[in-house]
């Protein structure tokens, strides 16, 4: 944990900030929205931007700004539930497979591979077909479509970790499986998988929007970006902002999460110092050298 805090200072804040902004908006949505996102107002339908409605209104007179902010909250909630559930399922199955090994591992790997081979949306669509559309069906479907990735990753980490001498050291100390698993294996797995999961969030937001767009996810009148896109399509000529703005919100969120993922992946690879950092370091070095020369020049 202290390690994480220390690395905070060196985080690429320009990449983290947009993601944090999205999370903040979603969490604070009830206080940020000027109107109830579901409140209809037939006196002001399909209006353009005004002081009353900064981004205008839709065909039911609902405030677009409120709906976009509300949509952020819905997306974040659904995404968090799915991520958490998929993480728990994936980490438990994957770590156990890697730790127990043998036939159990073979069976589990096969299951994971089957889930990985199918596109996650296909799995989700099939499950929703069975369970019927709805918010919770979507959550379950996406969880089942998502967990395999984390299971595969967890298993890989466990297998690599088990070869480490420090695990053998714990074994020689007389540690039992529970001790080794909870004290050494699980922390290593979580450290990696949670990071990757946070970068996966963008794809998940998109998947939620897709299902809602297809009418299989979040149901009206709950504000949701994918669903807002469908609603707005009919009024593209009257008020294109109804399509453009939810689409833009979605794109920005997905891109920020993906950039975060890229940054995480790149931070694992050592890179030479470059550009501004390099010139700053060179300057510091030259200063140090001058200071040293001054001390050494004294008689």
């Amino acid at each position: 944990m202290t390690e994480l805090l220390k690395s905070l200072r060196t985080w690429p804040w320009h990449i983290v900030a947009p993601v944090l902004l999205f999370v903040a908006v979603a969490v604070l949505a009830p206080w940020l929205t000027p109107y109830d996102p579901a409140a209809q107002d037939y006196m002001s339908i399909l209006q353009g931007p005004s002081w009353a409605h900064w981004l205008g209104t839709d065909y039911l007179g609902r405030d677009l700004l409120s709906r976009i902010i509300g949509g952020a909250r819905v997306s974040l909630t659904a995404m968090s539930i799915v991520l958490l559930a998929a993480l728990i399922l994936g980490v438990v199955v994957g770590s156990l497979a890697g730790y127990i090994g043998g036939r159990f591992e073979v069976v589990m790997i096969s299951a994971i591979d089957i889930f990985l081979a199918l596109p996650s949306l296909v799995i989700a669509l099939a499950l929703i077909g069975i369970m019927g559309p709805g918010y919770w069906s979507m959550i379950v479907a996406l969880t089942l479509a998502w967990w395999a990735n984390y299971a595969r990753m967890s298993r890989a980490v466990v297998v690599a970790e088990l070869r480490q001498p420090y695990i053998e050291a714990a074994r020689i100390m007389g540690a039992n499986h529970l001790h080794i698993f909870s004290r050494h294996i699980l922390p290593s797995v979580l450290a990696l998988v949670v990071v990757y999961a946070s970068a996966d969030a963008g794809a998940l937001v998109l998947a939620i929007a897709t299902l809602s767009f297809l009418g299989l996810g979040v149901e009206p009148p709950t504000p949701e970006w994918g669903q807002m896109l469908v609603d707005g399509m009919g009024y593209l000529e009257d008020n294109p902002a109804l399509v453009i703005l939810p689409g833009l919100a979605l794109t920005l969120v997905v891109v920020s999460f993906n950039l975060l993922g890229e940054a995480f992946a790149l931070s694992k690879v050592p890179r030479p110092a470059r550009g501004l950092t390099l010139s700053r370091r060179r300057r510091d070095r030259a200063k140090e050298e001058a200071a040293r020369a001054q001390v050494e020049a004294r008689p």
């Binding site: 390690e3 480490q164 001498p165 420090y166 053998e168 050291a169 714990a170 074994r171 020689i172 100390m173 007389g174 540690a175 001790h179 004290r183 050494h184 922390p187 290593s188 450290a191």
Partner: protein, 323 residues
């Protein structure tokens, strides 16, 4: 002193299957008896099975055949009936000090771990005593292994191995990852600990000079077998097995006055693969003194002139020869 050795192995074999019907015979019939309180070195080149032997003794690797007993009780019995008791009896020091410590645990957490597992009370006090024992400052407690130097990490590894107050320490090349000047510090630490705590230490090593410096007895391994063993000084001064002689001769002396004048034996070729050891004496393909009998009959360990044992047809005390 108890009348049974601290560690005894009889006919221990460890074979790894690499393909159907093909085995790497890493350890292929090792008999050892290490009396309590000795500092025993095991030397040999890579692939001779010395590390596998050490791992088998502590139970990280199971033996394909043969029996190992620790303090007079068989290892399998220990592991079945009293795994924690075995951990308090015998501990292991790893070659790679960084890998043997969890990278996300502070030094304090690493040193506490065995104490937690065994429910030892008053942990902080014990941890501090361990730091003093291996010569580490208190400030090391809050640090991560990565921020320590190689020598300090190995001190932590040794402290952790000693946390449960074991009487036997098995060390797998504990010095090979360290720099020369640091190596000497750790050698001194081992010597000091052995004297202070009366430990039985088995040290796998490839640096023969270090073995001569701290080990009271030594075994030389070649292709999964022990070819010679005895008191270190006597074996090194008067090696009976041609392989031991060549191994000793291969080590250059840091003193050019000795190095430029001494006679050298340079062996031809590389050690054969342990998956297919030669028939007869395993050393016959490289031995400068090979004769017919060596190709047909495998020599067994017999008393040698230096008072130890050697497995060479030429070395039986009466017909001792050197090359």
């Amino acid at each position: 002193m108890p009348d049974f050795p601290a560690i005894q192995t009889s006919g221990v074999k460890v074979h790894f299957r690499i393909a159907p019907g093909r085995f790497v015979k890493a350890v292929d019939g090792v008999d050892l008896a290490i009396p309590a309180g000795t500092f025993h070195g095991i030397v040999g080149e890579s692939g001779c099975g010395k590390t596998t032997l050490a791992r088998t003794i502590v139970g990280l690797q199971s033996a394909t055949e043969g029996e190992i007993s620790i303090a007079g009780r068989s290892l399998s019995n220990w592991r079945r009936a009293d795994r924690k008791g075995l951990a308090r009896k015998m501990q292991f020091v790893f070659q790679d000090p960084l890998g043997s410590l969890s990278r996300r645990q502070t030094i304090e957490q690493s040193l506490e771990e065995p104490l937690i597992i065994h429910g030892v009370p008053d942990r902080r006090k014990r941890v501090e005593a361990l730091l003093d024992l291996v010569g580490l400052p208190r400030t090391a407690l809050g640090r991560l292994p990565r921020s320590l130097s190689g020598g300090q990490r190995q001190r932590v590894g040794i402290a952790r191995a000693l946390a449960l107050d074991p009487s036997i320490l098995i060390c797998d090349e504990p010095l090979s990852a360290l720099d020369v000047s640091i190596r000497a510090q750790i050698v001194a630490l081992f010597a000091d600990l052995q004297a202070k705590l009366g430990l039985t230490i088995v040290m796998i090593a490839h640096d023969l000079a270090v073995v001569r410096e701290i080990c009271s007895s030594v075994s030389v391994m070649y292709l999964g077998r022990i070819v010679e063993s005895g008191a270190t000084e006597r074996v090194f001064d008067d090696a009976a097995h041609p392989y031991s002689q060549a191994l000793l001769s291969a080590v250059p002396s840091p003193d050019p006055r000795i190095e430029t004048t001494r006679e050298r034996v340079i062996l031809a070729g590389d050690p054969p693969s342990p998956s297919n050891p030669p028939a007869g004496c395993r050393f016959n393909t490289r031995c400068p003194l090979v004769f017919e009998r060596c190709r047909n009959e495998e020599p067994v360990l017999n008393p040698a002139t230096h008072g130890g044992l050697a497995a060479c047809h030429l070395s039986q005390a009466d017909q001792h020869a050197t090359i």
